[in-house]
Amino acid sequence: MELLNILFVAPFLDMADSPVFFAEVVITGLLTGIMYSLVALGFVLIFKASGVFNFAQGAMVLFAALTLVGLMERGVPIPLALVGTVLVMIALAMLIERMMLRHLVNQEGIILFMATIGLNFLLEGAGQIAWGSNVKVLDIGIPDQSFEVYGILLNQFDLFAAGTGAVLVTTLAVFFQKTTIGRALRAVADDHQAALSVGIPLKTIWVIVWSVSGIVALVAGIMWGAKSGVQFSLSLIALKALPVLILGGFTSVPGAIIGGLIIGVGEKIAEIYWGPAFGGAIEGWFAYMLALAFLMFRPQGLFGEKIIERV
C-alpha cells in the first residue's frame, strides 16, 4: 500500500503542491535536453547521409573542444580560435574520407560501424597526445547569470544553449529537406552504387557530411565544455545521445531534438519526484529504461522512417 502511494500518488501531490518548482524542474530538463540533442544531431547527420552509425561522435565532440581550448591556451583570440577549430574539423573530415571511407565504399553498415569504433580510439588518443589530458576550463564569454521570471529561476547560459540549438536545427532541417545537396546526401545514404551512377560525387558528399557533423560536434563541445569543463568524460556524453536517438529515430533531425527534450525532462522529473521511491540516482539510468521500452514497442522511434523490407 505504501509502495503504491510512493509510486502513484505522492509524486503527483508534490507536483500540484508547488507548481512553480515543477515548472522549474521542467525547464531545467528542457535545457539539459537541448544539450543532449546537440550531441544526438551529429549522429543523425552522419547516419542520414551515409548510413553509418558513427561511434566516434563523442570523441569528435571531445576532440573539437580540446582543439578549441588548446588554441585559446596558446593565446589565440576567441574568434580566430573558433575559425581555426572549424578548419581543423574540416581537415579531419577530409582525412577520414581519404584514409577510411574511400576504401569502404559499398560495404555493409556494420563494417563502417566497426571502422568508426577504431576512429573513436584514435581521436581520443590523438586529442590527448596533442593537447594533454588535464581538465581544462573553457570560457568563451557566454554570460552565466541566473535570473527570475515569474518566480522561476532561469540561467542565461542554458537559454543561450537552447537558442543555439534551435538555430542549428532549423538550418539543418531546411538544408536536408529542401536543397539539392540535401537530396544528394539522402541518396548517398540509401544506395552508394545508385548514387554514383547518377553522378553524385560520393567523396565530396562524405567530406561535406563529416565536416558538418564535425562542426555540430564543436558546438556541442563548446556548450558541454563551458558547462562542465573540457575533460575526457566529454566523449561519454555520446552514450546519453543513444537513448535520444532511439526515441527520436536515427534518421530524423527534428526527432533528435524532441527525443533530447523528452529525455531531458523525463530524467529530471523522474529524479525529483520518483527518486525517493528508488533510493535516488534515477537520473543515471532512466533514459536507458525509456529507450528499452521504445525498442520494444516502437523500434523506429517517434519520427524515424519505417523501412519496409521486401523478401
Binding site: D191, V198, T251
Partner: protein, 261 residues
C-alpha cells in the same frame, strides 16, 4: 528499321577483368553506334553485368581500352562516366527507397544543376529558379513513363514493375547519350514487359538515345535490338543482327550445352 544509325559512339577493345582466379571478361571487343539498340546476351555468369560495370566505371578493366565519344580511356570514375553522358539501371533495383518517386528522379538531374553549392544550400534566388526548371523536365519524364499517380509515393512501397519504371525515369532524367539497362524486364509479367519494350523503343526513337541492354527474354531481345553481342564464359562468341545470331552454331551450343570431347 529505318532509323539512321550514326557513327561509333562507344568502342570496347580487348577488355579483360578477373576476380581472383575467375576471368569474368576475356578480351571482349565490340562497338555501339549512335542511335542503336544493342543487346548483350549470354548464359548466367557469362560476364554481361561485368561488361556494363566496366563501361560505367564501377569496375576498372585490367586490360583493354574503352573509347566513348572519341575519347579513349583506360580507367574512369563512376560519377565522371555519368558526367560524360552514361546513365544506367541495375539488375537488382537500386533506388533510393526512402525518397518519393519525384525525388528519386530529381537526383538524376543532379549533374545538370549548374549553380554552385552555396546557392543550392541557400535554396534561394537563381538556385530556386533552376530547381523549378529541373522540376519541369522531371514532370515531362513522369508523363512520358505514365507514373503521375505515384509521384509522391516513397518508392520502397511500390510494386516491383513500377520500381523498374522509376529507375528508368531516374536514368532518363540525366538526358544520357548512352543508356545501359541491366535486365530491364527481369521478373515482369507479359503485360509489364510489353510496356517496358514500348518505353525503350520510344526513348530510342524520341530522344535518340543509344541503348545497351542485357536481357534474358529472347523474344524481347530479337524484337527490339538492332544488333546482338553474345558472351559465354567471359568471351565474345558471336555478334550480328538478331537473325544472324539466332542461326549461329556457337550460340546454339552455348545455350543448349554441348559435350566437349
Amino acid at each position: 528499321m529505318a532509323r539512321n544509325i550514326g557513327e561509333v559512339l562507344l568502342n570496347v577493345e580487348g577488355i579483360s577483368i578477373s576476380f581472383g582466379g575467375v576471368k569474368a571478361l576475356d578480351g571482349v571487343s565490340f562497338d555501339v553506334k549512335e542511335h542503336e539498340i544493342l543487346a548483350i546476351i549470354g548464359p548466367n555468369g557469362a560476364g554481361k553485368s561485368s561488361m556494363l560495370n566496366c563501361i560505367n566505371g564501377f569496375y576498372h578493366p585490367q586490360e583493354g581500352m574503352i573509347t566513348f565519344k572519341g575519347k579513349p580511356r583506360h580507367h574512369m570514375l563512376t560519377h565522371e562516366a555519368a558526367k560524360q553522358g552514361i546513365a544506367r539501371t541495375f539488375q537488382n533495383i537500386a533506388l533510393f527507397k526512402g525518397m518519393s518517386t519525384l525525388d528519386n528522379i530529381m537526383t538524376g538531374r543532379n549533374l545538370k544543376m549548374k549553380k554552385n553549392l552555396l546557392w543550392q544550400a541557400l535554396y534561394f534566388g537563381p538556385a530556386l529558379t533552376e530547381e523549378l526548371e529541373h522540376r519541369t523536365k522531371v514532370e515531362e519524364i513522369i508523363d512520358f513513363l505514365e507514373i503521375e499517380a505515384i509521384r509522391k509515393t516513397p518508392v520502397g512501397k511500390l510494386p516491383y514493375g513500377l520500381q523498374k519504371r522509376v529507375e528508368l525515369g531516374r536514368a532518363l532524367a540525366a538526358e544520357p547519350d548512352l543508356l545501359l539497362l541491366d535486365e530491364p524486364m527481369a521478373g515482369m509479367n507479359h503485360e509489364e514487359k510489353e510496356d517496358m519494350c514500348r518505353y525503350i523503343l520510344d526513348v530510342n526513337d524520341e530522344f535518340g538515345t543509344t541503348i545497351v541492354l542485357i536481357e534474358h527474354d529472347m523474344s524481347v531481345v530479337m524484337d527490339i535490338s538492332d544488333r546482338v553481342v553474345v558472351l559465354d564464359y567471359g568471351r565474345k562468341i558471336a555478334t550480328g543482327t538478331p537473325d544472324e545470331v539466332r542461326a549461329n552454331q556457337d550460340v546454339i551450343d552455348a545455350y543448349l550445352g554441348v559435350s566437349h570431347d
